[in-house]
C-alpha cells in the first residue's frame, strides 16, 4: 500500500496573491510533482509582518492567530517566500511568548512551516527538477530566507539541474536590495539608491535572467532594472524550477532592450 500523500497547506503570501499568481501555481506544480497533496486555505490573507515590523503588535497577533487557525490541519505549511516563512517560523514565537496556549500552537506551526525551495530540497530531499530554461541566470539571496531560514545552497542546487540554464553568481548576493517591506515606503530615496546599486551588480554579471525567492525583492529589483532599461528578465525561482517560465511574461513585463 503506497504511503498517503503529504498534506501541504500553501501559504500563498499577499504579494503573490495580488501581483503574481503564477508563482503560487508554480509552487503547487512543484509540490504535486513531488507527491504532495496541496490545499490553499481560503481564510489566509497575510502573515502579519507589515504590522509586526511597524510596532503594531495587536494587529500582528490578530493576523497570526488567523494563520494558526487556517493551517492547523496540515502536515506541512509551505511558503514561496523566505520573508513570510521567517515570520511564521521565528517571529510568531516572539509574538506569543507570553501566552502559553498560543505559544504551543505557534511552535507546532513553526516546526511544520518551510520556505518553498528549502522544503523541496531539505524535507522532500529533491535532488533535481524536470525543467528547462534557456539562459544565464543570476540569483539574489533574499535577506530573511538567507539569514532567518538558512536558504542558500538549496535554490542553487536545484537550479543547476534545470536543463539549458547556466548560473552566474551575483557579487554581493547577500546584500539587501533595499525593499525592506515598509522601509521602501518610509525611506523611498534610500531604498531607491540601494536597489540602484543592486541593479548595477546584476547587470555586471551579464546574466539575462535574475531569480530570487521573494516577491517583494523581485518587484523592487525588476522595477529598477526596467526603469534603467537593463535587458534582464526577472522571475521568481519557483517559475523556473517548475518549468512554467514560458507561460507568463517576466515580472515587470518584457525586459527593456528586447523584443
Amino acid at each position: 500500500m503506497p504511503a498517503p500523500p503529504i498534506r501541504v497547506g500553501l501559504f500563498v503570501t499577499c504579494l503573490v496573491d495580488l501581483f503574481r499568481p503564477s508563482v503560487g501555481f508554480a509552487a503547487v506544480k512543484l509540490l504535486e510533482a513531488a507527491g504532495c497533496a496541496v490545499d490553499v486555505p481560503p481564510t489566509q490573507t497575510c502573515c502579519g509582518q507589515p504590522a509586526y515590523n511597524s510596532g503594531d503588535r495587536a494587529d500582528a497577533k490578530a493576523i497570526a492567530r488567523q494563520v494558526l487557525d487556517a493551517f492547523e490541519a496540515f502536515d506541512y505549511v509551505v511558503v514561496p517566500s523566505g520573508s513570510c516563512g521567517g515570520m511564521i517560523r521565528q517571529h510568531y514565537l516572539e509574538l506569543f511568548a507570553d501566552e502559553s496556549a498560543l505559544l504551543r500552537r505557534a511552535q507546532h506551526l513553526a516546526e511544520r512551516t518551510y520556505e518553498l525551495v528549502s522544503f523541496l530540497a531539505d524535507v522532500l530531499k529533491l535532488e533535481r527538477v524536470e525543467a528547462r530554461y534557456d539562459g544565464v541566470a543570476t540569483y539574489h539571496d533574499s535577506c530573511s530566507g538567507l539569514r532567518e531560514l538558512g536558504v542558500k545552497e538549496q535554490p542553487r542546487k536545484l537550479l543547476r539541474s534545470v536543463a539549458g540554464l547556466r548560473l552566474e553568481e551575483l557579487p554581493g548576493a547577500e546584500i539587501c536590495c533595499g525593499f525592506g517591506g515598509t522601509f521602501c515606503v518610509k525611506y523611498p530615496e534610500i531604498s531607491d539608491r540601494m536597489v540602484a546599486d543592486k541593479a548595477a551588480d546584476i547587470a555586471a554579471t551579464g546574466a539575462d535572467t535574475l531569480l530570487a525567492g521573494d516577491m517583494g525583492c523581485l518587484l523592487n529589483m525588476a522595477g529598477k532594472l526596467t526603469r534603467l532599461g537593463k535587458p534582464v528578465r526577472v522571475r521568481h525561482v519557483a517559475e523556473v524550477l517548475a518549468g512554467v517560465a514560458g507561460e507568463t511574461p517576466p515580472i515587470g513585463g518584457a525586459a527593456a532592450g528586447r523584443s
Binding site: P42, D59, C176, P188, D197, I251, G252
Partner: protein, 474 residues
C-alpha cells in the same frame, strides 16, 4: 553635539547627493566585509568564541554592581581614582576639575566615543584647555570641525583629496608645493605635527575598550600607538569609560580581544593592545603622574533589566555598521548623533529619548546582516522593533502611515473582504498596467516610482483563480 537624528531623511538626502561621500562609502562597503570574512575563514572556532563572549558579558551585566566595585577597589589599590558620573555634564566637570587642578593648558586625546557622547572637546575649549586629537582619523575631523561618522574609522566619510586639502589649510608652516597625493604622505605629515603636541601636553585622555575588574586595568586597542604616547608622558591619564566595559578577568579579556579586531578590521589583533594599571610608580621610567577612570552612565544603568539590556554587550567593533546596507548608502553623519548605523538605531533613542531619534530604528530594512555579523550576538533588529512598538504605542509614527496600517489590518483580519479587495485590485491594476507590464507612475506610490517602475499585477488574484480551479474539479 546637538542631535539632528530627527532630520534623518534630510540628512540622508544630502548624503546621497554628496559625490565624495558616495565614493568613500563605495570603498568601505566592500573593504571591511571582505577583510572580516578573510579573517573569519582562518578562525573555525569563531562561533564558539561568540558564545563564550556573550556568556561573559551577560554574566557581567547580571552582576554589574559587583564588578564595578571590584574594579574600583583595584584601581585604588594601584594608586588611581574612579569617578562616577550620572550625566555628561557631571563627567565634563570631573574632567575639567582634574585639568584645572593640574593647570593643564593642552590635553592630548586618544579615541573615545564616551568623550564624543559628552561633547568633551567643546567643553574643554570653552574653559581654556586645548584638546588635541591624536588618532589620525579623529585628528582629521577635528581640524575639519566635524564629528566622527564611524565608531572605529571616524573619517571614513572622506576621500584622501579632502584630507590633503585640510592639511594644506591647517599646517601653514610647511612647503605649500609638497606632494600629498599618497596616503603615506598624509600619515607622515600628521605624525610630524602631532609628535610635538604629545611632548607638550599636560594631560592625556583616552577611551577604554575594556575595564578589567580583577586588576583594575583599562585596555585600549589601537593601530597607531597614539594612545600609548597620550598616556605615558603626561601629568595625568584620564580614562573615559562607560559601565558596560567591564570584564571580570584577564582571561575573559583575551576571549573578547580575539573577536574584536577580527570583527572590526579583519586583523587578527590590533597593532597595539595597551593595558593601563595605575599611575607611574617610583621605579617606573615613565608613565602618568595620576590615573583617573571616569565612568559615564548617561542612561545605561536604566537599560539593565529591560528589553534593551542586550545592547550593553556591545564591544564597539563596528561590524554592524560595516555590513549595514543603509549605513553603507547614507554614511554615519545622517544618523545625527554620536552612534551611527544599527548601534545608533538602538542606542540613540535609548540615550536621547525616542522622540528625538524616532527615525533611526525605522531606517532599517531588517535585513538582519548586523545581527549575523555581531560578535556579541546582539539582536539588533529585534531591539529596533521594540523601539517601533514604543513609537506606535505613543503614536509617534506619522499619522498617515498609522492610518494606512490600520486600514490594511482591517482588511487583513477579514478574509472574505480581503479576498474580494485583492481580486478587484489585481484586476484593475493588471488591466491598467497590461500594455507595458509595469507602471512608470502611480498615485500614492510616488516614492517608489520616482526612481523605479512598479511591476503590474498579472491581472487575477491567486485566490480567485484557485477557487475557480477547485470548482472545475481535478
Amino acid at each position: 553635539m546637538e542631535p539632528t537624528s530627527n532630520a534623518f531623511k534630510e540628512n540622508a538626502h544630502r548624503a546621497l547627493a554628496d559625490a565624495n561621500l558616495q565614493k568613500a562609502l563605495g570603498m568601505m562597503r566592500r573593504g571591511f566585509p571582505n577583510k572580516r570574512a578573510t579573517a573569519l575563514a582562518r578562525l573555525p572556532e569563531f562561533d564558539a568564541l561568540r558564545e563564550q563572549a556573550k556568556a561573559i558579558k551577560d554574566h557581567v551585566l547580571e552582576n554589574l554592581d559587583l564588578y564595578l566595585e571590584i574594579f574600583e577597589q583595584n584601581v585604588i589599590a594601584q594608586g588611581g581614582q574612579v569617578h562616577w558620573c550620572r550625566t555628561p555634564q557631571e563627567a565634563r566637570e570631573t574632567v575639567l576639575a582634574i585639568c584645572s587642578r593640574l593647570d593643564a593648558k593642552t590635553v592630548t586625546k586618544g579615541k573615545s566615543m564616551i568623550a564624543e557622547e559628552m561633547a568633551l572637546n567643546d567643553y574643554l575649549e570653552q574653559h581654556g584647555v586645548t584638546p588635541v586629537e591624536t588618532d589620525l582619523g579623529e585628528y582629521i575631523i577635528q581640524i575639519r570641525k566635524e564629528h566622527p561618522s564611524h565608531i572605529i574609522a571616524p573619517a571614513i566619510h572622506l576621500v584622501k583629496e579632502q584630507i590633503a586639502e585640510s592639511f594644506r589649510q591647517t599646517h601653514k608652516g610647511l612647503d605649500p608645493a609638497r606632494p600629498l597625493e599618497e596616503a603615506s604622505a598624509l600619515v607622515a605629515e600628521a605624525r610630524t605635527v602631532l609628535r610635538q603636541k604629545f611632548l607638550s601636553a599636560d594631560v592625556g585622555i583616552t577611551g577604554a575598550n575594556f575595564c578589567v575588574a580583577e586588576t583594575g586595568s583599562t585596555v585600549i586597542v589601537t593601530n597607531e600607538g597614539n594612545g600609548d604616547l597620550t598616556q605615558t608622558v603626561t601629568k595625568a591619564h584620564i580614562v573615559m569609560a562607560s559601565l558596560e566595559k567591564l570584564v571580570p578577568t584577564l582571561e575573559d579579556l583575551s576571549t573578547l580581544l580575539r573577536l574584536l579586531a577580527r570583527s572590526a578590521t579583519g586583523q587578527e589583533f590590533s597593532t597595539y593592545t595597551t593595558l593601563s594599571t595605575g599611575p607611574r610608580r617610583a621605579d617606573d621610567t615613565d608613565g602618568p603622574g595620576e590615573y583617573h577612570v571616569v565612568f559615564l552612565d548617561n542612561g545605561r544603568s536604566a537599560m539593565l533589566g529591560t528589553e534593551f539590556q542586550d545592547m550593553l554587550r556591545c564591544i564597539r567593533c563596528g561590524a554592524c555598521m560595516n555590513h549595514c546596507p543603509v549605513y553603507g548608502t547614507v554614511g554615519g553623519h545622517a544618523y545625527g548623533w554620536v552612534y551611527p548605523g544599527p548601534i545608533g538605531a538602538v542606542l540613540t533613542p535609548t540615550l536621547l529619548g525616542v522622540d528625538k531619534a524616532g527615525h533611526l530604528p525605522n531606517a532599517s530594512t531588517f535585513c538582519g546582516r548586523c545581527e549575523s555579523v555581531c560578535p556579541m550576538k546582539i539582536p539588533l533588529p529585534r531591539m529596533m522593533r521594540h523601539w517601533r512598538e514604543h513609537e506606535f504605542e505613543r503614536k509617534l509614527s506619522p499619522a498617515p502611515y498609522r492610518y494606512g496600517l490600520k486600514a490594511w489590518a482591517f482588511l487583513a483580519t477579514r478574509p472574505p473582504l480581503y479576498r474580494f479587495t485583492a481580486a478587484v485590485a489585481s484586476r484593475v491594476l493588471g488591466w491598467i498596467g497590461a500594455p507595458h507590464g509595469r507602471f512608470r507612475s502611480l498615485p500614492l506610490a510616488g516614492g517608489w516610482t520616482q526612481g523605479r517602475d512598479l511591476p503590474a499585477p498579472e491581472g487575477r488574484s491567486f485566490m480567485s483563480l484557485w477557487a475557480e480551479r477547485r470548482k472545475a474539479g481535478p
